[in-house]
C-alpha cells in the first residue's frame, strides 16, 4: 500500500537542495529540448537521488530516512511548480510533475497553487506542438514493420476503420508506450486536473498516435472526454470513434474481476449513446465491426436501452446483433427491461424473427434456450397472438408447412419450422391457452406423428405437448433465458 502525503505535510519545509542542484544543470541549458530524452534524464536523476524503486516504495514500513527524502522531493516539487507558474517555465512544470508522479502522489498536493491563464496558454501551445510517433527499430520483426506500414497507409487514406483496428491490435503489444508512463501521460493528466475543456479542445487537433496517448493517460476519464467531443466534423471524427470504442472496453472492464459492478451500475449514458447512434456525420454503425465491441456485454446493454428508448435505431444496428451469441441475451434483457410500448416489441421481434429464421444459424437446437434474442421472440409471440384463434391458426400453419416440406425435394428448412413451432409453444407460458390432446391432434397433427419422435427427438415433442396442455402446473417465467422449464415425467425422456 503506497504512502500518501497530505498537503499539510509538505506545505512547509525544506526542499532537497541536492536534487535541485542536479536539475539546475538541465534547466540552465537553453538548448535542451523537451523530448523523451529529457523525461528519461529527469526520471534518472530522481531515481538516483532517492534510490528507491516502485516495489520498495509500496512497502508499508519505509525507513525514516527514506520518508524524509521523499518529503523533501515533494516539497521541491511544489517549489518548482510555483516557479514554473510564475516564470512560465514548461521545464520546471514537467520536473515538478515528474517528481509527484515518481512518488505516486495526487495533484491535490499542488491544488492550492493558482495557475494563470498565460501559463496555461503556454502549456497548450507546447502540447499543440507535441508530436508522438511510432518508431520501429531497424531489426524489428517483419510483422511489426508491416503493422507500421499498414497504420501509415490508413492514416494517409483517412481510413478510420483500419486505424481503429490497428490501434486496437497495438494494445496487445508488450512494448506499447514504453517510457510513456513517465512522460507525456503526466502532463495530460495534470491538464485534465486543472481544466477538462483543454483536453477536449486539444484532442481533436491531435494525430492518432497522440490521441492514443491521451486516452491511455486518462483511461478512467474516457467517458467524460468522449461525451464532450464535437461530433459534427467528419475530418475530426477519429478521436470520437476511438473514444467511443475505448469507452465500451473500459465499461466492460468494470464488469469483470474482483471489484466487478453489474451492468445496471454502469454510468447512465444512454442519451448520449442514442445521440451518437443517430449521428449522420460520424456513422457509428459503419465502424462497429472495426471497433470489435459487438461482443461486449456493455455494448449490448446500452444498445438494448437505446433501442428501447428510440426504436428508429434498430434497423441501423440489427447487423451488429449476433443472434447466436450468448452476449446478445444482454441486449434482449436490456431491451425488454426498458421498453415501454408493445408496438416496439412487435417491431423488433418481427425483424429479429425474420433475421434469425432466414440466416443459416447453427444454434437450431431445442435444448439451447440461450440463443441471444429468445426472450424477445417469445414476447413477440405473446403480443402477436393475443387471441386464441390467431394462435391456433399460426400453430396450424407451422404444422402444415412442416408436412409440406416433408413431401418436397428439399428438407433443409424443416428444422427451422420445428424450432419455430417450439418457440410458439414456449410462448404459451405467457399466453396460458389451454388445449387438450384431442384438440392439438387437429391443430398440430405433425406433433402426434410418432415417427417425428425419432427425427426431432422425444424431448422436443414432449415439451411442445406439455407446454400446450395442462399436464403440468405452468411455471411463470419472467425471463426465459437461463431458466429451465420443468415438466412432468412424460418429458423426462431426453435424447
Amino acid at each position: 500500500m503506497k504512502i500518501e502525503y497530505l498537503l499539510n505535510d509538505i506545505k512547509n519545509g525544506n526542499e532537497s537542495a541536492e536534487l535541485f542542484e542536479a536539475f539546475k544543470q538541465i534547466l540552465e541549458n537553453p538548448t535542451k529540448e523537451i523530448n523523451i530524452d529529457f523525461f528519461k534524464q529527469i526520471n534518472a536523476i530522481i531515481f538516483n537521488y532517492t534510490k528507491i524503486n516502485k516495489n520498495e516504495f509500496l512497502q508499508i514500513n519505509l525507513p525514516e530516512e527514506k520518508i524524509k527524502k521523499i518529503k523533501e522531493c515533494l516539497i521541491l516539487s511544489r517549489k518548482l511548480y510555483t516557479e514554473s507558474v510564475n516564470e512560465l517555465s514548461e521545464k520546471k512544470l514537467i520536473i515538478s510533475l515528474l517528481l509527484l508522479r515518481f512518488y505516486e502522489q495526487s495533484f491535490l498536493l499542488l491544488s492550492d497553487i493558482k495557475v494563470s491563464k498565460n501559463f496555461l496558454d503556454k502549456i497548450i501551445e507546447m502540447l499543440k506542438n507535441v508530436s508522438i510517433t511510432f518508431n520501429i527499430k531497424d531489426d524489428a520483426r517483419y510483422g511489426e514493420k508491416k503493422w507500421l506500414d499498414a497504420i501509415n497507409e490508413a492514416k494517409t487514406l483517412n481510413d478510420y476503420s483500419k486505424m481503429l483496428k490497428m490501434m486496437d491490435e497495438l494494445n496487445n503489444s508488450p512494448f506499447l508506450f514504453e517510457g510513456i508512463e513517465s512522460s507525456w501521460t503526466i502532463i495530460f493528466q495534470w491538464i485534465w486536473f486543472i481544466r477538462h475543456e483543454i483536453i477536449i479542445e486539444l484532442i481533436t487537433t491531435m494525430s492518432p498516435e497522440t490521441v492514443e496517448v491521451v486516452f491511455y493517460s486518462l483511461k478512467d476519464e474516457i467517458h467524460n472526454i468522449v461525451i464532450h467531443l464535437p461530433q459534427n466534423n467528419p475530418q475530426k471524427a477519429y478521436p470520437v470513434l476511438r473514444g467511443f470504442m475505448l469507452l465500451f472496453h473500459c465499461l466492460e472492464e468494470k464488469t469483470r474481476g474482483e471489484n466487478a459492478i453489474t451492468l445496471q451500475e454502469l454510468p447512465d449514458c444512454t442519451d448520449w449513446i442514442i445521440e451518437m447512434f443517430h449521428n449522420k456525420i460520424i456513422n457509428i454503425p459503419e465502424y462497429i465491426p472495426a471497433m470489435r465491441i459487438a461482443h461486449l456485454k456493455s455494448f449490448n446493454y446500452y444498445l438494448g436501452k437505446a433501442i428501447a428508448k428510440d426504436i428508429s435505431l434498430f434497423n441501423k444496428f440489427l447487423s451488429a446483433i449476433d443472434l447466436d451469441a450468448e452476449v446478445s441475451v444482454v441486449f434482449s434483457e436490456s431491451f425488454l427491461d426498458n421498453v415501454n410500448q408493445n408496438r416496439k416489441i412487435l417491431f423488433v421481434g418481427n425483424k429479429i424473427i425474420y433475421k434469425y429464421f432466414s440466416e443459416k444459424i447453427n444454434t437450431y437446437d431445442f435444448t439451447n434456450k440461450n440463443i441471444g434474442c429468445l426472450g424477445i421472440i417469445i414476447q413477440y409471440f405473446y403480443l402477436k397472438y393475443k387471441t386464441k384463434e390467431k394462435y391456433i391458426k399460426k400453430l396450424n400453419k407451422t404444422s402444415s408447412m412442416i408436412i409440406k416440406i416433408q413431401s418436397s425435394w428439399d428438407f433443409t428448412n424443416i428444422k427451422k419450422f420445428w424450432i419455430y413451432l417450439f418457440y410458439l409453444a414456449m410462448a404459451n407460458n405467457y399466453l396460458e391457452y389451454h388445449f387438450t390432446e384431442k384438440q392439438l391432434k387437429e391443430i398440430i397433427p405433425i406433433v402426434f406423428d410418432e415417427r417425428e419422435r425419432i427425427n426431432q427427438g422425444y424431448y422436443c415433442i414432449d415439451t411442445i405437448i406439455a407446454l400446450l396442455t395442462s399436464f403440468v402446473e405452468k411455471i411463470k417465467l419472467k425471463k426465459i433465458n437461463n431458466d429451465v422449464v420443468e415438466f412432468s415425467k412424460k418429458s423426462d425422456k431426453n435424447e
Binding site: 520483426r141 517483419y142 510483422g143 511489426e144 508491416k146 503493422w147 491490435e169 416440406i405 416433408q406 413431401s407 418436397s408 425435394w409 428439399d410 428438407f411 424443416i414 397433427p445 402426434f448 406423428d449 410418432e450 415417427r451 417425428e452 419422435r453 425419432i454 427425427n455
Partner: protein, 534 residues
C-alpha cells in the same frame, strides 16, 4: 435364344405388375394419396415431337392434382432442332395406374404424347436404400424420401435409339446434366448414372415407419427404436436383423421379431462397426428399411494456421513479384491418442486399395523396351468390344512406332494417329513434305503387309494445328455412355523402355479425347494427311 429372352422378359413384366399393386396397397409401405410426375424431355422442333429423356412418377401422401403441368425452368436450347425442358405435374393414383399400363403398351402420355424407346424393359420392384456407406447412385435421380428408403419399378430403355443421335452431339450430354442439376426443385444428377437416360421410374417411398439406431455407451449394444405411420393402427409382423462387420467379416449379429406398434429394443451385439440394419415385413415379403451406419469414434483434424503479419515468402517470377503466405500445419483430434486394432486393419485395407489401383500403372527403366512395348500391346490386344477406335498421339511418331503398337489390334478397329512433321522429318531424311509422305509410305510397305489395317496418319504441318508435347494412347468407346480409356505414355513410342518413365491411365479421359479430336479436326485435310489406309 430369342424365345428364352422373351420369356424372361414377360415373366419380369408379370412380377412387376404384381409388385405395382402390392406397393400401392394402403398400409403395405405407405398410405399414398397422389403422385407427382417429373418429366424431362427433348423436343424435336422438326418432327414436333417430344422424346422422353427421363420420367419419374413419385407417389406421396398429398391428394392435390394439377390440371396442367408446370415448367420448372426455362428450356435449354441444344441446337436449332432440339431443346430440353422439365415439367412437373401432380396426378391422381388412378391416373398413375393408367400411365403404368399405357407405358407397357408403348404410350407415355404426360401432357401431350411423348415418344419413348420401343420395347422398354419392365423390371420388377427394386429396393433402393438411402442410408448406406456407399449410397446407391439411383438416389441421385429419385425424389428424396424424408422417411427413409424407396422401392422402384423401372422401365429400362435398353436401346436408347431415340436419344443416341442427340446425345452424341458434342458436349450435349454435359450440357443437359448441368441444366438439370441447376434446376431448382429437381435435384437430379445424371452425370454418374447416365445409363438411366431414356428410362421411366415409378418410385414408391417407404413411409410406413421410421427407424432410429443408437449406439449404447458401451459400444457393444445397439438400441433400435421404430415408430409407425399415424394411420398404421397395428404393428406389422417384422423381422429385424442387425449385423456388424469389419474387414469383410461379420463381427456380430442379432435379430428380433415383433408385431408391436412401438419398438424400443436393445440388440446385444458386441461390436458396432459398419452396422447394417435390415427390417423385413414378413407378411408381404417387403423390405421396410436397410441401412449401414458407422458411429464416429475418433476425429482427426488437420488445419493450417496463418499468423497475422507473418513474413511471407517472396518470389521473383516471369510475370513479376509474388508473395506466398506461410502457414503452420497442425493436426489435432479426439480419441486419437491410442492406435487400436481397427487402425492397423484399416491401414492395410487402404494400402491394398492403392496397390490394386496401381495395376493401371507401369514403371519402366532403361533396357526395358520389350516390357514397355508389351504393356502397351497387351492393353491393345485385350481391348473390349465397347471400343471402336484407337488413337495415338505423339510428336515423334513414325511408321515403326505404329506398327509396334497399334498393329497388335486384330479386329479391324480404326487407327487415327497424329505426329509432327518438323520433329520427324530428320529421322526419315525427308527434304520436303511430299518426300516425307513418300518415305512414310515406303516404311509401312517395308515393315508390314498392312493386312486389315484401317489407318489415317496426319502431321502437324503448314501452319495447321498447334504444338503438342505429351504422348497419349486413347481407346475410343462405341457410344458416349462409355468412358474412353487413355494412357499417358510419358515418353515417345520410339523411346519406350529406353530410359526411366511411367505409363499410367489418365483419371479424366474425356478431356484428353476432346483435345485430340479438336486437333484432329484442324489436321484432317489434304495438306496434312500423310497416309490413309486402305
Amino acid at each position: 435364344m430369342f424365345d428364352i429372352e422373351n420369356a424372361i422378359k414377360e415373366a419380369k413384366q408379370e412380377y412387376a405388375n404384381k409388385d405395382f399393386e402390392l406397393l400401392l396397397k394402403e398400409g403395405n409401405i405407405a398410405f399414398y394419396k397422389g403422385c407427382e410426375v417429373s418429366h424431362i424431355f427433348i423436343f424435336d422442333k422438326e418432327e414436333k415431337k417430344a422424346i422422353n429423356y427421363f420420367t419419374l412418377f413419385s407417389f406421396d401422401e398429398l391428394s392435390s392434382v394439377d390440371k396442367t403441368p408446370n415448367y420448372l425452368s426455362k428450356q435449354l436450347d441444344i441446337n436449332d432442332r432440339y431443346f430440353c425442358g422439365i415439367q412437373r405435374k401432380r396426378i391422381s393414383i388412378e391416373n398413375a395406374q393408367n400411365c403404368f399400363i399405357n407405358i407397357q403398351k408403348g404410350i407415355l402420355n404426360f401432357d401431350e404424347e411423348c415418344l419413348t424407346g420401343r420395347n422398354l424393359y419392365l423390371l420388377p420392384k427394386a429396393f433402393v436404400p438411402c442410408e448406406s456407406n456407399e449410397k446407391a447412385l439411383l438416389n441421385s435421380i429419385l425424389k428424396p424420401n424424408y422417411w427413409g428408403d424407396n422401392y422402384i419399378i423401372e422401365f429400362f430403355d435398353e436401346k436408347k435409339e431415340l436419344l443416341t443421335e442427340i446425345l452424341n452431339i458434342k458436349n450435349v450430354s454435359e450440357k443437359i446434366y448441368d441444366y438439370i442439376r441447376k434446376t431448382q426443385r429437381i435435384k437430379m444428377d445424371f452425370s454418374k448414372i447416365y445409363e438411366r437416360i431414356g428410362n421411366i421410374i415409378f418410385q414408391f417411398p417407404i413411409t410406413i415407419c421410421k427407424t432410429g439406431i443408437y449406439s449404447e455407451k458401451n459400444s457393444n449394444d445397439i438400441r433400435l427404436k421404430l415408430e409407425y405411420h399415424p394411420r398404421q393402427k397395428a404393428g406389422k409382423n417384422i423381422h429385424i436383423i442387425i449385423t456388424a462387420s469389419f474387414d469383410d467379416t461379420i463381427t456380430a449379429a442379432d435379430y428380433y421379431d415383433s408385431c408391436d406398434l412401438k419398438i424400443d429394443h436393445i440388440f446385444h451385439l458386441g461390436d458396432d462397426y459398419n452396422l447394417t440394419t435390415t427390417i423385413l415385413d414378413k407378411d408381404n415379403n417387403l423390405f421396410l428399411h436397410k441401412s449401414t451406419v458407422n458411429f464416429i469414434k475418433k476425429i482427426s483434424i488437420s488445419s493450417s494456421l496463418g499468423i497475422t503479419y507473418s513474413e511471407p515468402r517472396l518470389l521473383k517470377t516471369e510475370t513479376g513479384h509474388k508473395e506466398i503466405d506461410l502457414v503452420h500445419r497442425t493436426s489435432f483430434g479426439i480419441n486419437i491418442q491410442r492406435k487400436d486394432y481397427t487402425d492397423y486393419i484399416n491401414q492395410r485395407v487402404r494400402n491394398n486399395e492403392i496397390i490394386r489401383k496401381s495395376s493401371d500403372l507401369g514403371v519402366f527403366k532403361k533396357k526395358q523396351r520389350q516390357e514397355a512395348l508389351k504393356f502397351i500391346q497387351n492393353r491393345i490386344k485385350n481391348i473390349s468390344s465397347d471400343f471402336i477406335a484407337i488413337y495415338l498421339w505423339d510428336p515423334y511418331l513414325l511408321p515403326a512406332d505404329i506398327i509396334n503398337t497399334l498393329y497388335y489390334e486384330n479386329s479391324g478397329l480404326i487407327f487415327q494417329c497424329i505426329t509432327d512433321y518438323q520433329k520427324t522429318r530428320k529421322k526419315l531424311k525427308a527434304n520436303c513434305f511430299s518426300d516425307y509422305i513418300q518415305k512414310v509410305k515406303e516404311e509401312f510397305s517395308s515393315l508390314s503387309n498392312n493386312q486389315g489395317v484401317h489407318l489415317k496418319l496426319v502431321a502437324r504441318y503448314g501452319g495447321h494445328g498447334w504444338g503438342f508435347h505429351d504422348r497419349f494412347l486413347i481407346f475410343v468407346p462405341r457410344d458416349s455412355f462409355t468412358l474412353p480409356e487413355v494412357y499417358s505414355l510419358g515418353i515417345s513410342v520410339n523411346q519406350l523402355g529406353k530410359s526411366h518413365h511411367i505409363i499410367q491411365k489418365v483419371p479424366n479421359p474425356r478431356v484428353i479425347l476432346d483435345d485430340f479430336e479438336k486437333l484432329w479436326k484442324e489436321l484432317d485435310n489434304s495438306d496434312c494427311c500423310v497416309i490413309h489406309m486402305p
